[in-house]
């Protein structure tokens, strides 16, 4: 077996036998995903309900808007009773060409929405029936963020966060433990190049990150959570790999600076915790005040998270890769350069 393969194998075995690391890399983020996923499952998908009696073009068009959930009634009175009880904001009664909207003024906001919607649909059908081209062109465009179901931003968020934490900790810890336990000096006395040692470590980190990605997206795609990947999800691969490398190099820097495991743990926490909170891992960063959003732009995690969300769930194209990949690449180059400067083989 080559030195590269055997080193990677040795590290992989060491990792699989390390229950704490396994817990923090896989189970812990998964717990977040499950808890938040279930907690927020219904948020953001409250569609307005609308009763319907009778059938015809108007009801079909209303259903097609996707903005309301149409509930059909066989008896008009049943439906009206529901509206009166406040269970439904309105009921459309279609009787040939006559369209009547029954609504409860007690629920003003929804009643207004429902009125606007029904009259809008009816008017546009009228225009179409008249055979004349509409004079005003109207397009409704949804603001994507508010349309994202929580699982859609939770998954890329928790994924990039857990990859970041995993890469920073494992890279930093390996370096510190190996230095303290003299493994680094021992490796220096073996005919293996530092590049071989480093790249085998990278391979293990990337493998862990890929397993995390498969696990988290797999679980999030279960019907209970309902993650829907966009058609451009494969564009996430370059962002993903650059992200892993960026956090790996941050871990190397932590390991180069710190002499003890305790110091490395503290440093890794100091680096990853603020990033986790300010990069949109647990809540969309758009909800934060603008100055905070500006601050969060310095974090590689923010860019990884944004990039992954854009291509994995928002369905953006190649152009969405530019900024995250550029920023992450810059991070990798700068941070690993500094790491090689401060690196030392031994404690003193």
């Amino acid at each position: 077996m080559t030195a590269f393969k055997s080193l990677a194998k040795a590290m992989a075995k060491g990792l699989v036998r390390d229950k704490t690391t396994l817990f923090f890399s896989f189970l812990f983020p998964l717990m977040f995903l499950v808890v938040f996923g279930l907690l927020f499952r219904d948020a953001g998908m409250d569609k307005i309900k609308l009763g319907a009696y009778g059938d015809g073009e108007v009801v079909v068009a209303l259903e097609r808007t996707g903005a309301v959930e149409v509930q059909r009634f066989d008896k008009l009175d049943d439906g009206v009773a529901k509206v009166r009880a406040g269970d439904l904001p309105g009921l459309v009664e279609v009787n040939g060409d006559r369209v009547v909207l029954h609504f409860a003024a007690s629920n003003q906001a929804q009643a207004g929405t429902v009125q606007g919607l029904v009259s809008g649909v009816t008017q546009s059908l009228n225009v179409r029936a008249s055979g004349r081209p509409p004079k005003f062109d109207f397009t409704a465009q949804q603001v994507e963020d508010s349309s994202l179901k929580p699982i859609q931003y939770l998954t890329p968020g928790i994924l990039s966060w857990s990859i970041a934490v995993g890469a920073v900790f494992s890279a930093g810890m390996t370096l510190v433990t190996w230095r303290r336990k003299q493994v680094l000096r021992r490796l220096r006395l073996a005919p293996v190049s530092p590049v071989t040692v480093l790249s085998s470590r990278v391979l293990v980190t990337v493998t862990v990150a890929v397993s995390q990605a498969l696990l988290f997206t797999g679980v999030a795609s279960l019907p209970v959570f309902g993650l829907r990947l966009s058609g451009t999800w494969y564009l996430a691969i370059p962002i993903f790999l650059l992200g892993v490398l960026a956090f790996f190099s941050i871990g190397m820097l932590v390991g180069a600076f710190c002499k003890t495991e305790e110091a490395a743990t503290a440093a890794a926490n100091i680096v990853t915790l603020p990033m986790a909170f300010l990069s949109g891992t647990f809540f969309p960063i758009d909800m934060a005040p603008s100055w905070l959003r500006a601050v969060s732009k310095v974090f590689p995690l923010r860019h990884m998270n944004d990039g992954l969300t854009d291509v994995m769930v928002r369905g953006k194209g190649v152009e969405a890769l530019l900024v995250p990949c550029g920023v992450l690449l810059g991070f990798i180059l700068v941070v690993s350069f500094i790491a090689t400067r401060v690196f030392s083989w031994e404690d003193s």
């Binding site: 077996m1 080559t2 030195a3 393969k5 055997s6 080193l7 194998k9 040795a10 590290m11 075995k13 060491g14 036998r17 390390d18 433990t177 336990k181 003299q182 493994v183 000096r185 021992r186 490796l187 220096r188 006395l189 073996a190 005919p191 293996v192 190049s193």
Partner: protein, 306 residues
């Protein structure tokens, strides 16, 4: 000096010095180790043994002086030289959470040799039964032996062992002596450090006694002891012989007495022992000739404390 010819020395150390601040850890050390020689570096804590060894291995750069290891300077790191040397560091260096066998397999692979010798190595250091035990679950002595096996896995020509017998129980220490003898018989050059003077006396072809960064004496153990010209001390149980009788025996230079024993000092032990045998007083008799410890005492004026 030819580069790596058979006749050339395996290691030539020429006036190396290394200071840490004001502390002179190694202060002008020179010696030559021949091919196939078993060379011991002795000395108390802080004598500079590890520092000297690490300079020879190429792990540290000396402040001044030079080292030729198999004809080459080991510092800066020479990848071509590394497969020919095997190193056991004073603190055992292992990969996290791997078993004894996996450690050996990994180290073998680092040197590009197959896992073919792994079983042989485990056998050699007596860890066959512990092959599947994780490194952190081994006892101190077992770790030590595993560390030596890892140093030997790629069959190096020159072996550096830093206190291989530290932390071993007497039985394990003796087993390890056998291991070291086997390596020696295979024609390897061994440089090792130890605190145990008695052990060095038994194992080494030559020893260097170090203290405070300097080599105080260097020779074969026998020559060092002989050079001391120390008398032999014969101890008898009290009551087997009176002090006056003892003083009259041939070769008895001095006679001393305490509660339990009678101590005769002699420079000609043969006739004295013969005379004692004639008298039938050999029961419980002890003969103590000078050892490296006496050499150390004489060199430093201090009792040897490991």
């Amino acid at each position: 000096m030819t580069s790596t010819g058979a006749g050339a020395a395996a290691i030539v150390v020429d006036d190396i010095r290394k200071s840490y601040g004001d502390l002179k850890a190694v202060d002008g050390v020179s010696f030559t180790v021949g091919h196939g020689e078993f060379f011991g570096i002795l000395g108390p804590n802080g004598a500079g043994k590890t520092t000297a060894l690490e300079i020879m291995e190429g792990l540290r750069e000396p402040d001044s002086g030079s080292v030729r290891l198999l004809g080459e300077s080991p510092f800066p790191r020479k990848p071509a030289l590394l497969p020919r040397i095997g190193v056991q560091l004073q603190a055992s260096a292992f990969f996290d959470r791997l078993t004894a066998r996996e450690q050996l397999e990994t180290f073998s692979a680092l040197y590009g040799v197959g896992a073919g010798r792994v079983d042989e190595m485990l056998e050699l250091v007596g860890l066959t039964e512990k092959a599947g035990t994780r490194e952190d679950k081994l006892s101190g002595g077992q770790r030590q032996r595993l560390s030596i096996a890892c140093a030997l896995a790629h069959d190096p020509d020159v072996v550096f062992l830093d206190e291989p017998t530290a932390a071993l129980d007497p039985q394990a220490r003796r087993n390890l002596w056998d291991v070291l003898r086997v390596i020696r018989e295979r024609g390897k050059t061994i440089v090792y450090t130890t605190h145990y003077l008695d052990e060095a006396e038994i194992l080494c072809d030559r020893v260097a006694i170090m203290d405070q960064g300097r080599v105080l004496a260097m020779d074969t153990p026998t020559a060092l002891v002989r050079g001391l010209d120390a008398p032999t001390r014969i101890t008898l149980e009290r009551g087997t012989l009176t002090a006056a009788d003892a003083a009259g025996l041939p070769g008895a230079d001095e006679v001393g007495e305490d509660e339990q024993s009678l101590v005769l000092t002699t420079r000609t032990p043969a006739p004295l022992l013969a005379a004692l045998a004639e008298r039938g007083t050999l029961d419980g008799l002890q003969v103590r000739t000078a050892t490296l410890e006496d050499v150390f005492l004489q060199l430093t004026g201090r009792e040897y404390r490991a």
